[in-house]
Every structure is written in C-alpha cells, then in structure tokens.
Symmetry: C2
Subunit: 253 residues, 2 copies
C-alpha cells in the first residue's frame, strides 16, 4: 500500500452516470449473438413482431435498435422480406471510418500525408506478396493509362485502379479499405484540379511522367524489391501531390 496505490481513482470528473436505454441493451444482445456466431452472416432474423415478443419491448424500441445496426452495416433490412445479418461484416468498418472522417474538417493536407504513408507501406508489403495475376492486372491498368492520356476522366479511373490493385496485392483487406478510402476522398479534388484547366498541353506531359512513375513502381514490385517499391511509390505520390498542393493554395487564397 504505497501512496500511489492508495489513490486508485483520481476521480478526475463526476461519475458519468449512464442511463442505459432499452434499445442499447437490445443492440448489445444482438451484437453478442453475431459475435458468438449464433447468428451467422446472411441469416434472417425473426420478424419484428416476433422479436418484440421475445425481447418484451415495443416495436418502436426494437426498430431503433435494428435501424442503428443497419446504419452501421451490421444488419440489412429488406422491405417485404425481413432483416438479415449482413454477410460482408466488412462494411461496418468502412462506415465507421467514414463517420469518423466526415466529422472532422477534413484537411486535405492531413489526407495527403496519410496517403503518402499508407501507399508507400502498401507498396512495400505488396512487393512481397503480389501474385502473377496481380502484376498482370497492374500492367493492364498502365496500358489503359497510356491509351487515354487525352481523356482525363478515363485516365483517372485507370490510375485509381492501379493503386487499388497494389493495395489488394497486400492481401490485407483493412489496408485495402484504408487506401480505397483516402483515395476516394482525394478523388474529388484530383478530378477538379485536372478538369478545371481544360486540357492544357502540360497535362499530356504530366500524364507521361505519371505513367513513367507507375512503371517504376510496377518494375520494383515485379522484382520483389520491397524497399525499392516503397521509394518508387513515394516518389510518385510526392510528385502527384505537388499539383494538388499547388491547386489547394490557389483555391484557399
């Protein structure tokens, strides 16, 4: 019993007395059932009327619980059919991330920094795990870019596809989602910065440079040199971010 251990709880703030609503309890129970695999993905829950009787609550209360779980992507309500356990429990992670990110005044600068980190790391990891099929698909997207240097819309789709393929090659679904998400948010800005000056001659040059950078990344991935892949991706991201930064400062001032 030292002095320190005698102060187990600083009581830093007033006791956060929590009023637990009925729908919260229902949510906890359903989540528990799913996590224990009593309710399996794709399975249909009993009807709302039935669930009301089992839980002993009114339909409004039950529905508030079900809707909450549906919004998070854990359940999936279909009119006229029933309520089902979402088979891709993956989606609720994505939703949660979106809610989290939406609430912040999402600074594009922070996003760019995060993207740099994510993508350099995915390149590193992908160099070790990419399959022949992955590499072939990447080659296809690069050819797609070459064939659409004059169609920014289409070019961007191939560009995005390439980066997603790299993320997919890591075989880490969460990493893939994070990359997909950051790209998703940035895509709007990228598109704007590319479209606003309608097809300048520099765009063609920029596209050629970008394609060379992509090829460098792919080359490193092919040879399985992780560190080299990271550097190549880093160079590409920094290079492509420069335009965005420039465009940002123009619009913000």
């Amino acid at each position: 019993m030292t002095v320190n251990s005698a102060r187990p709880e600083p009581l830093q703030e007033v006791i956060p007395i929590r009023r637990i609503s009925l729908s919260d309890k229902i949510i906890d129970q359903i989540v528990d059932l799913i996590s224990r695999n009593v309710l399996q993905p794709g399975e249909r829950l009993p009807s709302e009327k039935d669930l009301c009787k089992r839980f002993g609550v009114g339909r409004a209360t039950l529905r508030e619980a079900l809707r909450s779980l549906a919004v998070m992507g854990i359940l999936d309500g279909r009119v006229g059919e029933g309520t089902f356990v979402s088979h891709n429990n993956q989606r609720y992670l994505e939703r949660n991330l979106q809610w989290g990110l939406l609430l912040d005044p999402k600074k594009v600068g922070d996003l760019l920094e995060t993207r740099l980190m994510l993508e350099t790391q995915t390149a590193f990891s992908a160099a070790r795990k990419a399959t022949a099929a992955d590499l072939e698909a990447m080659e296809g997207t690069i050819q797609g870019m070459e064939n659409s240097v004059d169609r920014p819309e289409q070019y961007l789709r191939f560009d995005l596809e390439f980066h997603l393929l790299v993320a997919q090659a890591t075989q880490n679904t969460i990493l893939h989602q994070l990359v997909s998400m950051t790209r998703g948010y940035l895509q709007a800005w990228i598109k704007e910065s590319l479209v606003s000056p309608p097809s300048r001659p520099e765009d063609r040059h920029r596209a050629q440079t970008s394609i060379r950078e992509h090829r460098a990344v792919l080359r490193a991935l092919r040879s399985g040199q992780a560190e080299q892949a990271r550097q190549a991706m880093r160079a590409h991201i920094l290079s492509s971010s420069a335009d965005l930064h420039q465009h940002l400062e123009q619009t913000s001032t």
Copy 2:
C-alpha cells in the same frame, strides 16, 4: 481505340438498386450539418417535435435517425434536456470495444499488420511535431502504468491513452482517427487475452517489459530522433502483438 479503351464498363453485376429510407436521408443531412460546423460540438438540437416539423417526418422515423447517430457517439440524447452534438467525438471508440469481437481472426491479423504500420509512422511523425505538453502527458500515462501493474483494466487504459497521445502529437487528425480506430477494435481482443488467464505471475513481468518499451519510445520522442522513435515503437508493437498472435492461434484452431 484499342481493345482496352473499348471496354469502359464491364457491367460486372446487376445494378445494386438501393432503397433509401427517410431516416437515412435525415442522418445524411445531420452529419453534413455537423461536418460543416453548422452544428457545433456541445450544441443542442431543436426538440424532436420541432425537428419532425422541419424534416416533415414522423417522430418514429426521426428518432430512428437520432438513435443511430447516438449509438455511434455522434449525438447524445439526455432525457428531459434534449439532444446534443457529442463534444468528444471519440466516444464512439468505447462502443467499438464491444464490436471489435465482430472481426474474425483473419481480419485481426490484418489489423495487427495495419496497426504496426500506422503506429510506427505516427511515432516517426510525432518525434518532429510533439510539443512539451504532449510529452508531459505521455510521461503521466507511463507513470499511471507503473502504478497499476496489478490492475490490468486500469493499466490498459493508460496504455491506450499513451498511444493516442502519440497519434495526437502528429497534429494529423486523420492519422489520429485511424490509430484510435485500430486500437479500438483490437482493445476487445487485448482485454480478452489478458483476462482469460487470471493474473499469472508472467503478467507482471510483461507489464514491466511493456513499460520499458514505452519509455524507450518517449525517450526518442523527447530527443526528436524520428527514426529512433519509429524503431522503438516498432519493437514495442511487435513485442506486444506476440501475445495476441498466440492467443489468436489458440482460438482459431
């Protein structure tokens, strides 16, 4: 017009026709208001009756939207007072502690890999941006760990707090969110793996080791040596992940 560019849309699957419920639309609107800071943290929303008239929906529908946002920690309903915008948007982390169990073992492995990447990078970035206040707060959490080596519950809270402080020190809100999220999901597993064998003697030893690792990270951050901070964090994460990996293989078999 090559073969590649002639295949713009594979029409891979049937059109995912989506039925958008009214409460979903309300959720979108409210989230948008909050993200645009029209509704600020701590602010009180109009009463439900009032909101019903504004949105032109019934109270059940409105409540399903409000409850969904409340469950995610974005809103906070208080009986007799009103509904408020949650000021600590990190409350949704607490809830995710339970939902972490929804992830299957394979995804937990992915999460561990992702966490390693995120946290090593945050340590690197934090070494350059951490303020004196940040460092002092971290010191406090380490002392908290030392004073609670025999109370796993409390120890984990300080542990979590330390890592969140490191993320916060990067001054990158998105990075901070991602670290919060990954830690949040893992926390459920960490807790389970610590509680299942009730207070073995090794736990004390593990805690001491963990504290040393944390100190090493803090030392590197203090001296502003980014690369050293990354390595220290990497060592710590790998060391602390070992237990989880072991626990994972037990449960998956």
